[in-house]
Amino acid sequence: MLIGKPAAIPSSEITCKDMYVNRRRFLRGAAAAGVAALGAERVGRLISPGIEALAGTKLQTVKSGLTTTGEDLTSYNDVTHYNNFYEFGVEKDEPAMHAGALPTRPWTIRVDGKVAKPKTFDIEELLKLRPLEDRVYRHRCVEAWSMVIPWVGYSLSEFIKQCEPLSTAKYVQFLSYYDSKVELWASRSAIRWPYSEGLRMDEALNPLTLLTFGLYGEVLPNQNGAPVRIVVPWKYGFKSAKSIVAVRFLDKQPPTTWNDMSPGEYGFYSNVNPGVDHPRWSQKVERRIGEPFYKAGRGTLLYNGYGSMVASMYDGMNLKKNY
């Protein structure tokens, strides 16, 4: 069984100390670089709410029964320096260098669409809504690499309750932060911003779907989608929208960024499935990030190994057609 038993040690205690120390130094550097890049008029605004204070902040967490056991965690350094966050550059190491520019306070999530009434939630309010849980999840990228990440958050369903969706709401759309003056690197790719992702209502309500505020027991680094993101562990990573500013409840399937760009390559569902190849490569195996180059890839699991929790949602569905 892959899910069930809570980890004996809180994930926050697993990383060795020098990695923590280096990380702080890095984040300070990233914040400073961001400030420098933005120019004088924004400096005051960025310094006063204190990005630095946020970056190293330890979160109060509790254990979770939904954590994944039996996997070695990917190092903090790799989790935070190998990112796809194209608003901050298309190379994997660019978000870590550039995302310091992202202003994570003040931050709100706007909720609208098929809801009792539109609402806006402040990040501080969301952080206190439910106890924050330590949840280790496998993370499988559509590019055939994977990580194991100790996230911090609570089930998205808890938040959805607060949104009071109407019975006509069948889908949820997530929109990421976008400001071309902050995310100067976004215009280097021919992608329509803001980044948009979506889930079917039952997928969004699945307890595994995590509203995520941190990793390794601490506040999310900007490049990992601060201050709040979605994590859907049985789907390819791009389904897990970062730095979300709006949640929309809809009666039909929302447009989503990669599906719009190339529908043949990136399906709306994008459930991890070794049986359905990406047109450009096989999805049968994956490279675990941080492992030496000579180590053979590992077999990819259907639904990324979370089938017991999610497979029933797709009963009777043709997974080859609805990839």
Binding site: Y82, M261, E265, P279, R280, R287, P292, F293
Partner: protein
């Protein structure tokens, strides 16, 4: 050019061309190739192949534009062979690290995936060029035939750039820079030929 200058420049070319490989080998031995060493190796060797191909394609237009740079021809074979060398290492990273030497995987990739196809085509086009790179082969084939065969390098470079575009996600424009360079280098040829014809006619 003085013999000592030439030796110096050739040494510099060797060092420059081997530098990316040296960094990779050092990184592999010390396990410092970053979070995803396999993609680092594949991307570095692929990119270096394209850069060296483009540099070797720049030799002819540079000589035509600036007759003083005629000596550049002495470096073209070296640059071309290094491009082929990196293409070979690039192919090996695929065969060993991505396909795991699995023949079935490779067969599927080559027949089904256009980005693998275009890369393989580029490599196969470079193969006869590398094989006929010796002075002996040039003499044996005769300059005219040799020149004709080596026009394949244009097709190989285009296939390589197409391979790059098909490898990245749609919307990602990273291959644009090298594409523009290749377009300029290819267009420079007919343009320079026309200019030269005008000049000789005027004279």
């Amino acid at each position: 050019m003085k013999r000592s200058t030439l030796i110096l420049l050739k040494t510099g070319t060797w060092v420059g061309c081997l530098w990316p490989l040296a960094l990779l080998v050092y990184g592999a031995v010390t396990n410092t190739l970053g979070p995803d060493p396999v993609s680092k190796m594949a991307l570095t060797t692929g990119y270096t192949t394209l850069v060296l191909l483009l540099v070797s394609l720049a030799v002819t237009p540079a000589r035509k534009l600036v007759p003083k740079l005629n000596w550049l021809i002495k470096f073209r074979r070296l640059l071309g062979l290094f491009a082929f060398f990196y293409a070979t290492v690039h192919l090996l990273t695929y065969v060993a690290l991505y396909a795991g030497f699995d023949v079935n995987t490779m067969a599927t990739d080559i027949t089904k995936r256009r980005f693998i196809m275009s890369g393989m085509a580029a490599f196969l086009l470079l193969l006869p060029l590398a094989a006929t790179s010796t002075t002996w082969a040039i003499r044996k084939m005769g300059g005219k035939n040799w020149n004709r065969l080596h026009k394949l390098v244009y097709v190989a470079a285009i296939a390589g750039i197409v391979h790059y575009w098909w490898q990245v996600k749609p919307g990602v424009l990273s291959p644009l820079r090298l594409t523009v360079v290749l377009a300029v280098l290819l267009l420079a040829r007919p343009v320079l030929a026309v200019v030269q014809r005008r000049k000789t006619r005027a004279a």
